[in-house]
């Protein structure tokens, strides 16, 4: 009873302009009119511009950016809560943008579920009725049974008859998560779902999500303004700034090769040892040279590798992906990779 994601979501040439005559300005924006100019000259807000993004099925794609960068606007295009000024949102041969109201309703009911920053639970319904909400809408007979199952899965058993306002923020968001999961949709949309929670509870929720995703393999779009959260959760990370896509890649790519100064500044404070994998900095083993007799896994993060090597008193190790030899690695190289190049440069 759980549906994994089976299709990628393709966002193509998406533009969103807020204002009464949005359609008239889209060509000018395509030709290079900036957000500030559009605002000054025509009093329209440029929400999104030229967004092209493939959201792979069964993975967590994180959309990251500062407040006002257009994250919420973008995620709402995926379930049609916002209509674009131009562009397509393709899923399984359909374009969400051109769906009729009935098609869109069915799409939302069957294919998507959403978790909100401020939980958006129904205050007059108990936890059980909240979790069953999406199923009630579809008139599903076994709504309650399924709701109970997901309440258990997010660790809220015993709270079925509580009302939202009787629960802490963390618990309320578990209800929000259970409500979304109970819908058994392939696509899970999470708009800053954990941003309103305290750091410790937020870490907790991230773990729950990762654990569930191991098993469920849903197509998750997760929005955050927090880089650490993005790096922890995201198989793929897309960075938005002023409605434009600045860089798309996995965590390592973004940390190691920021596309521009803006992103470099963004990733400056990141603990690189927790992001970079051993295989990334492994050098091919020299032919004929004897391999070090200590082995680390290719996908281990550098901080773990460094800890294991120092503990074992080794300064060199071979990096293996299963049985396959990827190369070798040594402590100086690890240390160098863990230090932010910008900081290193300023100390010269």
């Amino acid at each position: 009873m759980n549906k994994a994601g089976t299709h990628d979501i393709e966002i193509r040439d998406l533009y969103k302009i807020f204002g009464p005559e949005a359609g008239q300005h889209v060509e000018a924006v395509k030709a290079g009119l900036t957000k500030a100019e559009l605002n000054d000259r025509h009093n329209h807000v440029l929400g999104l511009q030229d967004i092209n993004l493939t959201i792979p099925h069964g993975r967590i794609t994180v959309i990251m950016g500062l407040s006002g960068s257009g994250k919420s606007t973008l995620i709402r295009h995926i379930n049609g809560l916002i209509q674009p000024t131009a562009g397509q949102v393709l899923y399984d041969g359909m374009d969400v943008v051109t769906m009729t109201p009935t098609q869109l309703r069915d799409f939302r009911r069957q294919k998507t579920a959403m978790v909100f920053q401020k939980f958006a639970l129904l205050p007059h319904r108990t936890v059980l009725r909240n979790v069953a909400y999406g199923l009630d809408i579809r008139g599903m007979a076994e709504a309650e049974e399924r709701a109970r199952h997901w309440i258990d899965r997010v660790g809220l058993q015993g709270y079925e008859d509580y009302y939202p306002r009787q629960l802490s923020g963390g618990m309320q968001q578990r209800v929000g998560l259970a409500r979304a999961l109970a819908n058994d949709a392939e696509i899970l949309l999470m708009d800053e779902a954990f941003s309103a929670l305290d750091p410790l509870i937020r870490m907790d929720m991230q773990s729950i999500l990762l654990e569930l995703q191991q098993e469920l393999r849903k197509t998750i779009i997760f929005i955050t303004h927090d880089l650490d959260e993005a790096l922890r959760l995201g198989d793929k990370i897309a960075i938005l700034r002023d409605g434009a896509m600045e860089q798309v890649g996995n965590g390592q790519e973004i940390v190691l090769r920021p596309a521009n100064a803006y992103i470099a500044e963004f990733v400056r404070e990141v603990n690189r040892g927790r992001i970079i994998e051993a295989r990334t900095i492994a050098t091919p083993a020299t032919q004929g040279r004897e391999l070090p007799d200590f082995t680390v896994k290719a996908r281990s993060k550098l901080d773990l590798v460094a800890r294991r090597m120092t503990k074992a008193g080794m300064s060199e190790a071979q990096v293996r992906d299963g049985e396959v030899l990827v190369g070798t690695i040594d402590l100086p190289a690890i240390l160098e990779a863990m230090v932010n190049p910008a900081d290193a440069a300023s100390d010269d």
Binding site: L81, R108, L121, P123, D136, R138
Partner: protein
């Protein structure tokens, strides 16, 4: 030019205009009076039925049922007990029958106001144009002296219960409409968005989210409507609605001070009972709907 005298329409024209309008209305009354009376006949039957039920049943049974109803709605022993005491005193002073008539009238008026007012309020909440159109009408209904709209009502229906009901409902319906509109508009947009995101139809949104969350506000509107219909009982008695209003009217005409005060106090007692009961119900509704955190 004479600047002291206002340049008014000539007497003759004014009279002609009044006669035309009155004539047209009289023709309308002749042509449609019977039809309109037939349409409103069920309301008259309903009111008569409830009146008879309250008056012809054993008083102790009526009192017990009222007390049970009040307790069910308010869940408060204090309110239920207070109501019983008040009704006993009112009955002891010879006002039982009139009190029952007034309760019946307020009940029917409130029922009509709710049945008509909530749908109008919903429409107003859903469309800004509707809102802009209905709001001035409501303002007019609340500020126009009730005697003015009594004239056409009486012309059509004559004296009796139905014109009384209509007059009271016109006066008392605005709060239900206004507060239904307000309650629905106040529903948190993020909760509404969640309903939308899970694929609710408009009807499902209304039924599962907007109305339940607006209910405490709607209840406040119903409470006001009840109070306003009670305030109209004396006016209604002028056109033939029986109840506590009639003795008050009689007392004014013949300067019976005690009679006026007693009946006035009986109206106050009913007002307090109904107010406390509906407010307690509203509070009970509100317990969970205050948005979490």
């Amino acid at each position: 030019m004479d600047l002291i005298r206002f340049p008014e329409m000539s007497r003759g024209n004014l009279r002609a205009m009044r006669q035309t309008v009155d004539g047209a209305f009289r023709d309308f009354t002749r042509a449609w009076g019977d039809t309109l009376e037939a349409i409103f006949a069920p309301l008259q039957s309903l009111l008569t039925f409830i009146e008879n039920l309250l008056i012809r049943s054993p008083w102790i049974a009526v009192l017990a049922v009222l007390a049970a109803g009040i307790w069910l709605v308010s869940r408060s022993w204090k309110i239920a007990l207070g109501s019983v005491l008040a009704l006993l005193v009112v009955g002891y002073f010879g006002m039982w029958e009139d009190t029952m008539r007034t309760i019946a009238m307020v009940a029917v008026c409130t029922l009509i106001a709710v049945v008509l007012g909530i749908p109008v309020g919903i429409l107003m909440a859903q469309s800004n144009r509707m809102n802009a159109m209905v709001t001035p009408i409501l303002d007019m209904m609340q500020t126009m002296p009730s005697f003015v709209y009594l004239i056409p009502v009486v012309m059509i229906f004559g004296l009796g219960k139905v014109p009384g009901l209509i007059a009271v409902v016109i006066y008392a319906i605005p709060p239900v409409i206004r507060l239904t509109n307000l309650g629905i508009r106040q529903v948190a947009p993020d909760v509404l968005e969640a309903a939308e995101a899970f694929g609710s139809s408009s009807w499902q949104k209304l039924r599962d989210v907007q109305l339940p969350l607006a209910l405490p506000t709607i209840m406040a509107g119903i409470n006001q409507t009840i109070m306003m219909s009670l305030a109209m009982v004396v006016v209604a008695s002028m056109i033939g609605v029986r109840g506590l209003g009639q003795p008050v009217l009689q007392a004014i005409n013949q300067q019976y001070f005690t009679m006026g005060v007693m009946n006035g106090l009986a109206i106050v007692a009913i007002a307090i009972i109904m107010d406390r009961t509906t407010q307690a119900y509203g509070k009970r509704l509100q317990k969970h709907t205050e948005a979490g955190k």
